[in-house]
Symmetry: C2
Subunit: 241 residues, 2 copies
């Protein structure tokens, strides 16, 4: 089956199956508990096959109607990282990290991509070719009335977060960033006027020890059970019913 489907729309055929240091991939529990936002990066480069793998894995993320509105620019050149740093509140890590990814999305790009995506899906048995016009009408009706920025931001963060987790599982350090001037980023990297810059992601190796874990709001304050105002309790049987 794979041999037949091995084309440019298919899943990546080869991905590194160990961390960058050769150790087994971190399990998800360790990945998420050990992850801290890195403040300073060393200039040690990230092997290109790992950058590609992180991108490929991010692109496997789910999206509404499989429309994949997310787009990325990978910045590795030192001069370009300096330009990006200037557009990102002069955060040192942007200039330090060997890889910085600009996550963005382009308003209405889904309109020109939708047909191709649906035809490819149908070819693979994930949709019915005859129903594509109907499906396109559904999407046009749904997204035509949906706030574009909300939809683009939600979706781009799915692929973005997937990349963070993939990079950390590979034993790399990351710093997701929301501090930047979107207009400046767009200008510096020639993004189209319709682009919505969503987030930046620095990837590399921490140059200094991580800051201590800052704590998290407890489950009881952020998660409810069945209805607003009824806190989730971890143990079975103790919760109000």
């Amino acid at each position: 089956m794979n041999a037949v489907l091995q084309d440019k729309y298919d899943q990546p055929a080869e991905l590194p199956q160990v961390q960058v240091n050769g150790k087994p991939l971190k399990p998800i529990t360790r990945t998420l508990l050990e992850r801290r936002a890195t403040s300073h990066f060393s200039d040690k480069p990230v092997p290109r096959e790992y950058v590609t793998a992180i991108l490929e894995l991010g692109l496997q993320a789910p999206s509404g109607y499989n429309l994949q509105p997310w787009r990325f620019i990978v910045v590795q050149d030192a001069e370009n990282r300096k330009r990006l740093q200037k557009a990102a509140m002069d955060q040192a890590k942007v200039g330090e990290a060997p890889v910085v990814i600009i996550a963005y999305a382009v308003k209405d790009a889904w309109k020109s991509q939708m047909h191709k995506i649906f035809v490819e899906g149908a070819k693979r048995g994930a949709g019915d070719e005859e129903k594509i016009p109907e499906q396109e009408k559904t999407v046009n009706d749904f997204l035509g009335n949906f706030p574009a920025a909300t939809w683009l931001n939600r979706h781009t963060m799915i692929a973005f977060t997937t990349m963070v987790i993939a990079a950390e599982s590979y034993g790399l350090d990351t710093a997701p960033m929301e501090g930047f001037d979107p207009a400046e980023v767009k200008e510096e990297f020639n993004l189209p006027a319709q682009a919505e810059v969503v987030a930046l992601l620095a990837i590399g190796y921490a140059a200094t020890p991580d800051k201590p874990y800052p704590g998290r709001l407890p489950l009881e304050e952020t998660v409810c059970e069945e209805r607003y105002g009824n806190p989730w309790h971890s143990e079975q049987g103790t919760q109000e019913r």
Copy 2:
């Protein structure tokens, strides 16, 4: 160290370290490649310790200034899932899945949480207590001028996506959903007027085989190198410089 910090703001002390079927956790590569959006769920329940673990892991996600604006309601009661299904374009999976999570955020909630979060961080050495007033001013300046819906949606999707990946690594099936009437969800589950409903996540066990992989836009069409218009190439040396 852990013994000292073991309080309600600390990381979860115990998490399942195997899949629900007892097998080792899926590595991130398998997790992301095997994940498909599940169309129909069986009624087999998800053990409560796994639901708690998925929530706890989601809450470990990074957020700007550690403000964690995401909130969740876990819906397991059959009647409540039916009410949610009605508010979610009558999608059958909402009524079928044993666990459905409503992801939302409340506008301006960060204002009342910020001080507590910064004090806790400083206590743990992740910030300087004396600088908290200054830090609060920075946040007020930054978020006061930021479109609230954009910020809330971005952040909530980080924790949401983390939950999807954690659930899939535990061998569970998931269906992220964007099709719902936010006003109806808010009314049915008594959410405050300031709430922004972001997404729904069904978790359980697939009742039918997954749909085939629908394909993804190739890396060359979604990722650029250094600047807009210069496609990323997986192999070193073949890209334009």
